[in-house]
């Protein structure tokens, strides 16, 4: 294996970690073990490739050179841990991301929701809340929001604060408006927010029926019974074992005929309960619990 010194990467672009695979794997697993034992956050079953990239990003952002150095800093400095937690728990998302999913939700899930007097929806791993507001808008337009409650959970409390604030970057509104229209939106998207400074403040009424709460998919149990669970592009950051466990949690938390919505490229095949679901919309990864 080539040594670090043999690198020919141009100077000034060293945001890329040196290659020294095995040692790096040791350092990473020691760091994760330390984080778990000191702070209780368990990232040991996260998918290693993207976890490694995010940890390296934090190493460089802290002005450090190695994962071991980050471990040292983390263990003695809770503020540094908080920053890593943010790196590891923010999932980049957008309002009405994958508009076809929202279109399918309107056409195939809403009719099911209309048959219930009251609906509980869990958005698991809601991050900064883009999906939650999108869903609230959709339910409002379909006139089922009044009898719905959305439980929006994330591992990270400061991410939840941002979600609660309902302020999103103004320069994203063009993209979100296009998504909204493609996702079957029936009004002018700008009705839902007020532009102020560089932020778009979304209507508070959209989160009237939303409960934001901290919940850790890795370690926490189910906390209710749901008609719908949406968890899109969250489990891609987990390894197979953890994915299986979270799938079990979702299955146990869904009512019979409850709906599970996953990301475009996520598969129910890794659920131990695959046979307990039928496809509601296979390309939009909407499944219905039948078992």
């Amino acid at each position: 294996m080539a040594s670090v010194g043999a690198s020919r990467e141009p100077a000034g672009t060293s945001k890329h970690p040196p290659a020294h695979g095995d040692l790096e794997d040791i350092e990473l697993s020691l760091l994760l073990e330390g984080v778990f034992r000191q702070y209780g956050f368990d990232f040991r079953e996260y998918a290693p490739a993207s976890l490694r990239r995010r940890v390296w990003r934090r190493v460089f952002a802290e002005g450090l050179q190695t994962i071991s150095a980050l471990q040292d800093k983390l263990l003695h400095d809770p503020a540094c841990m908080e920053r890593l937690l943010l790196d590891l728990s923010i999932n980049v998302t957008a309002m009405f991301r994958d508009p076809a999913f929202y279109l399918a939700f309107r056409e195939k899930v809403v009719p099911i929701l209309r048959t219930y007097p009251f609906t509980r929806i869990w958005v698991a791993g809601c991050s900064t809340g883009e999906e939650v507001y999108s869903l609230a808008i959709l339910l409002e337009e379909e006139q089922v929001y009044d009898r719905a409650r959305i439980y929006a959970t994330d591992i990270n409390e400061s991410v939840l604060d941002r979600a609660r604030s309902g302020v999103f970057p103004l320069d994203k509104m063009r993209e979100y408006t296009q998504n909204y229209i493609k996702g079957g939106g029936t009004r002018a998207f700008s009705e839902y927010y007020l532009a102020k400074y560089d932020g778009a403040q979304f209507q508070r009424s959209l989160i009237e029926n939303v409960v934001f709460a901290q919940h850790n998919l890795v370690s926490d149990h189910s906390f209710n019974e749901f008609n719908v669970i949406i968890c899109r592009n969250v489990m891609i950051y987990f390894d197979r074992t953890l994915q299986e466990r979270v799938h079990r949690l979702f299955f146990d938390s869904l009512v019979t005929f409850g709906v599970l919505g996953l990301g475009h490229k996520e598969s129910i095949r890794f659920s131990p309960h695959e046979a307990g679901y039928e496809e509601l919309d296979p390309s939009e990864k909407l499944y219905r619990k039948v078992g």
């Binding site: 043999a6 020919r8 490739a49 993207s50 990239r53 980049v92 490229k265 996520e266 890794f270």
Partner: protein, 197 residues
């Protein structure tokens, strides 16, 4: 022995990738992973269908945790990064890197970590410098770096950037790349010795 071929392309990539795939003899059984820049809204599957017309190998849009199997061609889905673990793929929706998701650098760097010297990285046509870092990484862990000759590329920025970032094992016109990969697969040691000299 090689484990994985990674191809990165951007502007003009569809045609270029199609030709490389078409030129690979049927008996070559390496898995091939492709990051081709696409519009985030491009319909899923289209690229796979177009490439499928050029090859008898199974061409698939990657789903999360899909196993890496011999002879298969794997495409990074639009709006996701494609990452390599040992034996399987992973996906992420992390920030775009230099405006790109999928990012070629992410594919190449994670492949280098997972398979070290077992990776063959190929940079084709493109109008940005994505992939240059990744190819340098592949090279640094003992893998093979192949770059399309900028002279014949639809856009030469990407091959030029890759050439500047690392010492390529081969800089070849498009129609010679398939043959070169086949040569490596048939006779890894010999070719490596020649190019190392």
């Amino acid at each position: 022995m090689y484990d994985l071929v990674c191809i990165g392309a951007s502007w003009g990539g569809l045609k270029a990738i199609g030709q490389v795939l078409a030129d690979l003899p049927a008996e070559l059984d390496l898995p091939i992973a492709i990051a081709q820049h696409r519009h985030p809204d491009s319909p899923e599957g289209t690229l796979a269908q177009l490439l499928q017309a050029q090859t008898n190998r199974p061409v698939l849009d990657v789903e999360d945790k899909m196993a890496i199997e011999p002879r298969h061609v794997y495409i990074a889905p639009p709006n996701y990064h494609l990452l390599v673990e040992r034996g399987s793929f992973a996906l992420s929706v992390d920030e775009r890197i230099q405006f790109a998701r999928p990012s070629i650098d992410v594919l190449f760097e994670t492949a280098a970590h997972a398979y070290g010297s077992g990776v063959i990285g190929i940079i084709l046509t493109g109008a940005n410098d994505d992939g240059a870092h990744g190819l340098a990484r592949i090279k640094r862990v003992g893998g093979v770096a192949v770059i399309q000759d900028p002279l014949g590329a639809a856009r030469r920025t990407m091959p030029d950037a890759a050439i500047a970032a690392t010492v390529a094992d081969a800089i070849l016109p498009l129609d010679a790349i398939g043959k070169f990969i086949y040569g490596l697969w048939v006779q890894p040691a010999t070719v490596r010795e020649v190019t190392k000299a």
